[in-house]
Amino acid sequence: MQKISVVRIFMTLALILTSLNLVAKDTDKVEKEGAGDLKTEISEFIDHHLQDSHDFTLFSDKETGKHYGFPLPVILWDGGLKVFSSSKFHHGETVAEVDGNYYKLYHSKIYKTDAEGTINYDEDHHATNTKPLNFSITKNVVSMILIGLLMFFMFSRLAKSYKKNNGIPTGLGRFLEPLVIFVRDEIAIPNIGEKKYKKYMSFLLTTFFFIWLLNLLGMTPLGVNVTGNIAVTFGLALLTFLITNFTANKNYWGHIFWMPGVPTFMKIVLAPIELLGVFIKPFSLMIRLYANMTAGHVVLMSIIGMMFLFKSWIGSPLSFGLSFALSILELLVAALQAYIFTMLSALYFGSANEEAHH
């Protein structure tokens, strides 16, 4: 009986696949010319996804030009605070008029224009219109607020569960506590040292979970890309840079400006190199996280896009399988990048606190 049913399932599957293929073949001829368009559309879509956005679009219908999602508040400083909903832009299709000023959304950026919404370009096809100071609550800001609330909710509950339960975590805390201990025992203590790690724990824990959860949020179909945004990674790396240099001891600066144990001539040569290193270290943090997350999103979305380009029952399942495998890899990368960022930050804090051992 079982054998027969398995055979039947196979038959139906084969039937469905071949019929789909037939349909695909029919439409192939029609869409042959449109294939080039589809490719540019996919690449534009990926480009758009990597950018921050002024509205939270979940999906769009290309044919009717309808977008499903919700608008977000726009906050501009242009000779005064201007706050309005991003629905005024109609996804870049119309010019928004606020207090007699005209603004247009162009490639996810807000430019000041005239009433017709003219955008002027230079020879490199860059818009030359002035950009007002933009403090809008964008999609990335919303994502960060959401993750911030989630983190606060999770960890304050964990903290409370200790008080209630005599020092033993319950529920979700059982999962979170080992992670907190992991950051302490595997990241902070080995890199900073038993004596001084405590004052850095808040930053390291917040950074680790902030990056990790935002990376994971980037894996959801919501299509956010916060940690793959240069402004966000710059902010994180800047904090590491500031904390490193403001908590550094005499020994750290001694190693930079007057390297002990080398001839005087070498000290002079080494000083600018070491000073450069002070900036390169956090810079590498910024680029590493940005590049890894952006590359992950680009590759994953390209492979998903390939499904629509192939339109055959070999290519599409193949790219589906590939994107599935890659998604799992990206889940690992999400945790790994959070770990690397935190670990290297701890390493820099450790070097800033190293005692002289000569």
Binding site: I137, G167, T206, I230
Partner: protein, 166 residues
């Protein structure tokens, strides 16, 4: 690089720093400090408990060793006492034996001496009785013999004949 700078949004950077620092300060107060403290306390508690358990184990071991030692001592003492008692008993028996022996010897010797003395006395008595009896018999015989004068004279004659004048 040009693209990176072009993509850089100051507004997002501003919000990121603001949100992150705010989150950090909030979490530090409401989450990280109490969590790390609780974990630390618990770890200290476990460490202390383990240490005291180890100490108790050692104490127990010491006690057991002490007990063993005391027991051994008591056993040795008991053995010594038993041995001593046995020795004492043997000595006493031996002493009693020798004493009894000497006493018995003495009694035997005394008895022998008494027997000897009694024997001598008896002999002496016997002797004197035999002598008396002989004299009596002799007297009776003589009296009978001397009842008539002839016989008396004959006897005197015989006796005188026996006696040699020295």
């Amino acid at each position: 690089m040009d693209k990176l700078i072009n993509d850089f949004s100051f507004g997002l950077f501003f919000w990121q720093i603001l949100l992150f620092v705010g989150l950090l300060l909030l979490l530090r107060k409401f989450a990280w400090k109490p969590i790390l403290e609780a974990v630390n306390n618990r770890e200290e508690g476990i460490k202390n408990a383990l240490e005291s358990a180890e100490a108790a184990r050692k104490e127990m071991q010491n006690l057991q060793a002490d007990n063993e030692r005391i027991l051994n001592e008591a056993r040795a003492e008991r053995d010594g006492m038993l041995k001593e008692a046995r020795q004492l008993k043997e000595n006493m028996i031996a002493d009693a034996k020798t004493e009894a022996q000497t006493e018995a010897d003495k009694i035997v010797a005394q008895a022998q001496a008494t027997i000897e003395r009694e024997k001598k006395a008896a002999i002496a008595d016997l002797k004197s009785q035999v002598a008396g009896l002989s004299v009596e018999i002799a007297e009776k015989v003589v009296r009978k013999e001397l009842a008539d004068k002839d016989k008396q004279l004959a006897l005197v004659e015989s006796m005188l004949g026996d006696v040699t004048l020295n």
